[in-house]
Subunit: 420 residues, 2 copies
């Protein structure tokens, strides 16, 4: 997969919705400014502090956070904010501010206070996020100097700079700016995300920021963001590892004058665009997972209670992931991993790779040479589709979907050498 | 870790129990014969068929099998046998006979029948086990010819040949022959095991065979084997993957004339020896996991319901395992992985590496240079001890222990290229 973004919707699994046009990714919706600066944490000198501001007096917002019992100081601090009415979000990269105790909390609070003071808004209306290494103290003073610098460089075209500033081991920035046609005019919908390792989000992703100039009430916004997150960031796994810092912030400025009201056609149009946006971003995160060479989409047809653990067991199996990396149709490992999540259940499942059934009722089908060649060829493509039908059924309206990537040498190299 | 066995009990975590002496590992207890032959499945020409026979008329036996919903044909066939009174066990390596349907079941039954006929015992008194690749049909005819050959080469000193014949990706054989002093004389206690990949046993290990010439009734034998397995094979994880073929068979011939009765001192002596034997074998399996460079023992102090998932989450985290491989004291990943298993709980845990507390109540302790050097040094040893104390407590009598290994390039290489 190339790091060059020709068009945002480039995965086979995401189509550009009707009425959606791509804009220059730096461009933010009306009522937003952003920036990214290098405050000096990253030895490389790359940007490591992002600031996103909504200039509307009365924006709506929504937020989702990790469920890990070990949480970052910025998550603790953000949870206390007015999450339905945020005016700004500040994020640093390089240090996750986790396991840093009271001093870490004070740094996160000081970040919020500095932004609030600079913008002349209450501190309760500023969110904060961090990403990077865990367990290393985070110094406050350079950060506060960086926030001063950021406050002076905010721009309506700062979306790309902001996206650059939140990257850690990401190889390319993940962001898009979309124009979405509604009934009486267009709104702009943007998002910036980062990922790389420790990616198996639950209720949120590593970090994602969504902005729109549509007018959306906080309850509708929260519902839309939650729904889109469930179908995107919660359906990917790089390494099965739930981060301590996962955060999604969404802010709607209303500056376009276009409203998105619950139960209307406009809500559907907006929801479809938001779904596609977050879904493509999630797949970007997976494609740029540490060392990723190949992606797979697994669809499990089965009762919900079984389908979800089966999907996770297969997608997080190091044996399945190594086979995917090797382009190796060693599908017996998919059955084994699925069976591990079905203790005491039935192993009589059907398995297909790109619609070619390789096992029926748990038994290999003795593929002829042509079919075997097709399976071999499919396993060498950059995006592989796998489907698993559990015993019993039909299971209409149930099942689970998971996008996962291979486990390769680059992941091992990167994660053997990260902190030292 | 060297592949040369100087002494069997060579892990820092297993001591040779008092009254236990090592014998030549090929030597079997009185009343047993075994062999290993090359029947022609492995392209390398290495042994791939093992046969173990107990010549006593009325032996006791016990068996444990995988809980995976996808099970091998030999597991299905063995479950129907008289598991408390087995006379023989046959095992092939190279092909796991899984996902092979009715033809696979017929091959496993034919293996049992051929052994039963050759020994003139009922087919219900023969167990069968397989290990190797999943989902490939297993041809019966060459196997039956191999069984003929095996029946002609059985020997009281065949323990090592049998251990060689059950190896797949193992680099060295895992077996021991012990003399155990009881109150009125000695008994012999032997075992052979194999492991390598797909190792996260639940109720059993990949394959393990235990023989003794003590007289042990089947109920006591089953209890002893289950208890020793819980403290050994169930406490290791190479890759978190529960196999489809895990099997433990234990047979007691009684040929020594020494009885081991429930509730006696002799039972304690025998149980301690069996524990140490299986524990060292389990650590051998881990040390010879695919690509293993370094082992860790994790002790979690906490309520049982939390300690076990925390231990598994840490021991199976690819981030923790890569850091272990790199000798990298990136302990923040241990907190993150533990927190993932404690959704909604408290992340305020204490973490120590070789008794040096690196985090207290979830907060880094700012180690001085000497202590940091000690931690760095400890992480580069072949066996690393990690302890994690969950919030609350004391938790006397609870907690969990897990032995795990690193995730390295050799695991990835091996498992990207296995079937192709």
């Amino acid at each position: 997969m190339s790091t060059r973004v020709e068009t945002f919707f480039r995965s086979r699994w995401v189509e550009r919705p009707p009425g959606v046009t791509e804009l220059e990714p730096a461009r933010l919706p009306a009522g937003f400014r952003a920036t990214g600066v290098a405050y000096g944490y990253k030895p490389s000198g790359r940007p490591d502090l992002g600031l996103l501001v909504c200039d509307a007096d009365d924006p709506s917002s929504a937020a989702l956070f990790t469920r890990n019992a070990v949480v970052a100081a910025p998550v603790t601090v953000s949870r206390r904010a007015e999450l339905a009415a945020l005016r700004a979000v500040v994020a640093n990269s390089g240090n996750a501010n986790v396991g840093t105790g009271e001093p870490g909390l004070r740094v996160a609070e000081a970040m919020v206070d500095a932004v609030a003071k600079g913008l002349d808004v209450p501190a309760t209306r500023v969110g904060v996020a961090s990403t990077g290494i865990i367990g290393i103290p985070l110094e406050g003073e350079p950060l506060l100097a960086g926030i001063e610098q950021a406050l002076g460089t905010l721009s309506p075209d700062g979306g790309a700079d902001f996206a650059d500033a939140i990257m850690t081991s990401d190889q390319w920035p993940k962001r898009a700016s979309l124009e979405v046609e509604l009934g009486r005019g267009a709104v702009t919908l943007c998002a910036q995300a980062k990922g790389a390792g420790m990616i198996s989000p639950s209720f949120a992703t590593m970090l994602c920021f969504v902005e729109t100039d549509a007018a959306v009430d906080p309850v509708t916004l929260a519902r839309l963001v939650r729904g889109a997150t469930e179908r995107s960031f919660e359906r990917i796994s790089v390494d099965g590892q739930l981060s301590t810092n996962d955060t999604v912030f969404a802010i709607a400025s209303g500056a376009s004058g276009q409203g998105v009201e619950a139960g209307t056609d406009d809500e559907n149009r907006f929801a479809v665009a938001l779904d596609a946006l977050l879904r493509q971003l999630a797949i970007e995160i997976l494609a740029d997972g540490e060392g990723t060479k190949r992606l797979a989409r697994l669809v499990v047809d089965g009762p919900l209670a079984a389908a979800e653990p089966v999907a996770r067991a297969v997608g997080n199996s190091p044996l399945v992931k190594c086979a995917l990396g090797g382009g190796d149709p060693n599908w017996g490992r998919i059955l084994q991993a699925a069976g591990q999540a079905l203790l005491g259940g039935s192993g009589e499942m059907d398995l297909a790779i790109e619609s070619i059934v390789v096992a029926r009722d748990g038994v290999e089908r003795g593929l002829d040479d042509d079919a075997q060649r097709d399976v071999d060829e499919a396993m060498r493509q950059p995006e592989v589709e796998i489907s698993l039908k559990l015993a019993g059924g039909p299971h209409a309206g149930e099942g689970a979907e998971l996008f996962f990537c291979d486990l390769g040498h680059d992941y091992v190299s990167f994660n053997s050498e990260y902190s030292t």
